[in-house]
C-alpha cells in the first residue's frame, strides 16, 4: 500500500526533524551562554517556536494515521518521543533566556561549556566551493580551519551536523572556533583558496 508507505515516511521525516532541531537548539543555547550572544539566544527562541509547530504537525500525523488498536502501543511510543524532543527544546530555550535577560554569564559557565571556542560565525556555501558535495567527515573543517560546525541551515530546515552529512550549495554553516579560523572558513565556503600556513 503506497499511501501507508508515504504516511510512515512523513512520520519518520517529521520525527527526525523534530529530534535534530531540538539537539541543534541545545548546542546553540550553550554557545549563546558561552559567547554571551544575544543573536544566538534569539535564534534559539525562534527555533523553539518552530519546534512547537513541528511537534503539533508530528502529533497530528501520528494521530491521523488510522492505526489499529493492536498497534496503539507502538504509536504511543512515537508520541512520547515527540514529547521528549519538545522538552529538550524547552530546556534549551531556558538556557538561552539567561542571556536574553541580560545576566552576565558567570565565568564558571564559560569554563564549563568550552575552553577554546571564541566566536560563532555563519557562512554560506557557494556553488564554486570545494565543500559542495563533500561529507562533513571528508571536509575536515576542524583540521583545515579550526572551526566546528554547530548546525547547517538549508532553506528553512535546520540540520544537525553528522559525519555523513553532505554539504550542498546554498547551505549556511553555523560554526564556532577561533577568530582566526573564521576567515578561512568563509574562503572555503565561497570557493577561494586558503593561503597555506
Amino acid at each position: 500500500m503506497a499511501s501507508t508507505k508515504k504516511l510512515f515516511r512523513n512520520i519518520t521525516n517529521k520525527l527526525v526533524e523534530l529530534k535534530d532541531t531540538s539537539e541543534i537548539m541545545m548546542d546553540l543555547a550553550y554557545s549563546s551562554v558561552l559567547l554571551n550572544s544575544r543573536e544566538l539566544a534569539e535564534e534559539v527562541q525562534e527555533l523553539e517556536e518552530h519546534v512547537d509547530d513541528l511537534h503539533t504537525e508530528f502529533e497530528l500525523l501520528v494521530l491521523s494515521s488510522g492505526f489499529k488498536p493492536t498497534e496503539s502501543r507502538d504509536f504511543l511510543g512515537l508520541i512520547r518521543l515527540g514529547v521528549v524532543a519538545e522538552r529538550i527544546a524547552d530546556a534549551a530555550a531556558e538556557i538561552s533566556e539567561v542571556v536574553l535577560r541580560g545576566l552576565e554569564p558567570h565565568p564558571i559557565l564559560k569554563l564549563v561549556i568550552e575552553e577554546a571556542e571564541e566566536t560563532v560565525t555563519r557562512v554560506q556555501v557557494t556553488k564554486k566551493s570545494s565543500l559542495v558535495g563533500k561529507k562533513l567527515r571528508d571536509a575536515q573543517l576542524p583540521e583545515e580551519t579550526g572551526m566546528w560546525v554547530l548546525a547547517i541551515r538549508r532553506g528553512k530546515k535546520w540540520l544537525r551536523p553528522q559525519p555523513n552529512s553532505v554539504i550542498k550549495t546554498g547551505d549556511f554553516l553555523i560554526a564556532s572556533g577561533y577568530t582566526e579560523g573564521e576567515e578561512d572558513l568563509r574562503k572555503l565556503a565561497s570557493g577561494q583558496t586558503i593561503s597555506e600556513v
Partner: protein, 202 residues
C-alpha cells in the same frame, strides 16, 4: 515505600559538577533514542543508571551554589549557573522517560524504527573481557575509528563514568564501553571486547 539515597553535602567545585551534568545529560539523550530505536533494554538500563547520577550531582551542585552566594551580586551571577544545571537535569529526566518506555515495552512503531536505522548511527554497549586484546591498550593505540569505524563515546568503570574519553585513556578489563558506529563495526567491537575476536585488522 520509595527508597532514595540520602544525599549529603560534599564540597565540590561547581564547575566540575556542571561539566559532568552537561556531559552526562547529552550522552543520555543519545543513549535513550538509541535504546528506543534499536529497542535495547540494556541501553535503557544504562540511561536510568545515569539519571540517578545526574540527580545526585544536581543536589550537590545546588548545595554548593547556595553556600557560594554571599551577597546579591553573587546570587545574580549564580542564577545562570543554576538555570543551566536545572536544564541539564530536565534533559536527563526526558531521556530517562524514553528509557522507562522501553522497559515498559512501549515500543516505537517497527516501520519508523527501520527508517531511523538508515539515518542514525547505532549506539551500543560492550563489556571488556579480561582476555580481550583491547584491555590494557589506550584508545590512541587502538585507532578504532580508523580501523572498524567505531567511536568510543563513554566508558563506565566500576560505577564511574568517563564521558568523551581522550586518546590517552587506557581500556581496562571489565570496563563497559559505550560506542557509536555502523552495525558491522559494532559487531566487531563486541567480538573484540568479548574476546572472541583476537585480532584487530588494519
Amino acid at each position: 515505600m520509595v527508597r532514595l539515597e540520602k544525599i549529603e553535602y560534599k564540597p565540590m567545585p561547581i564547575r566540575d559538577l556542571l561539566v559532568q551534568m552537561k556531559d552526562i545529560s547529552e550522552l543520555m539523550i543519545d543513549l535513550a533514542y538509541s535504546a528506543a530505536l534499536f529497542h535495547s533494554r540494556e541501553l535503557a538500563e544504562e540511561v536510568l543508571e545515569l539519571e540517578r547520577r545526574v540527580d545526585t550531582l544536581a543536589y550537590i551542585l545546588e548545595m554548593n551554589a547556595m553556600l557560594a552566594a554571599r551577597d546579591a551580586e553573587d546570587a545574580e551571577a549564580l542564577v545562570g549557573v543554576y538555570t543551566v544545571a536545572a536544564a541539564a537535569n530536565k534533559i536527563s529526566d526526558a531521556a530517562a522517560d524514553i528509557a522507562g518506555n522501553v522497559l515498559r515495552e512501549i515500543g516505537v512503531h517497527p516501520i519508523v524504527r527501520e527508517a531511523f536505522r538508515k539515518v542514525e548511527e547505532q549506539l551500543s554497549r560492550a563489556e571488556v573481557n579480561p582476555n580481550s586484546i583491547l584491555a590494557g591498550k589506550t584508545l590512541r593505540e587502538l585507532e578504532l575509528a580508523a580501523k572498524i569505524g567505531v567511536d568510543i563515546i563513554a566508558i563506565r568503570r566500576k560505577g564511574e563514568w568517563i564521558i568523551n574519553p581522550k586518546g590517552g585513556e587506557t581500556i581496562n578489563a571489565e570496563d563497559i564501553l559505550i560506542a557509536r558506529g555502523a552495525p558491522l563495526g559494532i559487531e566487531e567491537l563486541k567480538g573484540l571486547a568479548g574476546g572472541t575476536i583476537q585480532k584487530l585488522e588494519d
